[in-house]
Amino acid sequence: MGALSNLLIPAVLFFALGFFARVVKSDLRFPQDMAKMLSIYLLVAIGLHGGYELGRADLGVALQAVVWALVMGFTLPIIGYLLLVVTRRVSPLDAAAVAAHYGSVSAGTFLAAVAYLDSAGIEYESYPVIMLAVMESPAIIVGLLLAAWTRRRMGRNGSAEPAPADPVGQGGMSSLLHEALTNGSVLLLLGSLLIGAIAAPGSMDSLFPFINEIFMGVLCLFLLEMGMEAARRIREFRKVGVIMVAFGLVMPLIGGVVGVAIGHWALGFGLGGTTLVAVLGASASYIAVPPAMRLAVPEANPSLYLTLALGITFPFNVIIGIPLYLYLARLVGAA
């Protein structure tokens, strides 16, 4: 089966259709909240599904997966931050905000990968779902720490006046940490995982048609909308500059390689599971991290991190990244 025919799965094609619609300036537009609703469904469905399987899986491996997810979530932003600071193309605070996105994950990319594996008939472990759930928060926390540290360093160098007192005492570390840990989509995914795991035996049966049968269709609609959003953001790529675009392509490769390594060697997953861990490493958040950065690092430019995460890295992963990470996973698996 050629690489191209791999791409001819509906989920990817709908993403491309959305992208195309924006490129030809069609007036195709989803209702305001439709993407949000679809993503609530998707998070709940994948959570219940994963939780149901985790309830029957090895708790030791699950714990290991959580630990490695935390490791990735904490490490990748630091790698990203250093890379960005080295390029000297963006302010250090911009670097902190952008880097945080890459420690976190994109549920849309993850689900596209699931659809990809499904259509290729490749099996995968359920543990990556729980990693998806836990990677959001550490990335936000590292982002906050990087920004705080940057601000302190800039203050010492006299290059910034001290930040004015917060009128509502809400920009403080503790209240921002609280937001990182109680983030809505994290809670929804963790909650659904838990419900899937603890629901009384038999009571899940009536839920399966809902979480299985319409899943792929909802995912297609979601990716259609995300294709439109990606295309809208990619137009700004000239504003962010070629170096930054390169970062948006290199960073997922780094994350993907790290993910393959962790999935294969550290967690001992098979081909499918390793690919999914790679996608977790490679993808950048565009749901939980952006609002957190808006609150915590108001000095950073939102259109910078949104363009990178949504306009560059997201389409790269969906079109090129996923088959590539699968290829890498196959390589290390064969080795």
Binding site: R29, F30, Q32, D166, P167, Q170, R232, L295, P298, E299
Partner: protein
């Protein structure tokens, strides 16, 4: 005709991420309430299409007596100094029952 009394109407346009902070300022500054409308728009920080959670604006309205205006504006000024993008404007309005706007929101 029922009598009308002058009040100040402060309108703030910004990302909806800041809504809870603005509501806190309203309470702190003793306004009697606030009203929020969902919005989209464009400005110096790019387009906000209101399609995703991450690019939705709000129009935040507060009616308050002239003497409480300064404090409110100072808090907003302070947020802007920290880097937040706020579009703020004040209008003159006339209301029917001024005592309603003197009672701070609990």
């Amino acid at each position: 005709m029922p009598a009308l009394y002058p009040e100040k109407l402060v309108t703030i346009i910004t990302t909806d991420v800041l809504e809870t902070w603005l509501a806190k300022i309203v309470r702190k500054r003793g306004a009697s309430g606030y009203t929020v409308v969902r919005a989209r728009g464009a400005g110096s920080s790019g387009e906000q299409s209101s399609m995703l959670d991450i690019d939705t604006n709000i129009k935040f309205h507060v009616i308050l007596p002239e003497e409480r205006l300064a404090g409110m504006l100072e808090d907003l000024e302070c947020m802007m100094k920290k880097g937040h993008h706020l579009t703020v404007f004040v209008s003159e309005v006339s209301v029917l029952h001024p005592e309603k706007y003197a009672r701070p929101l609990e």
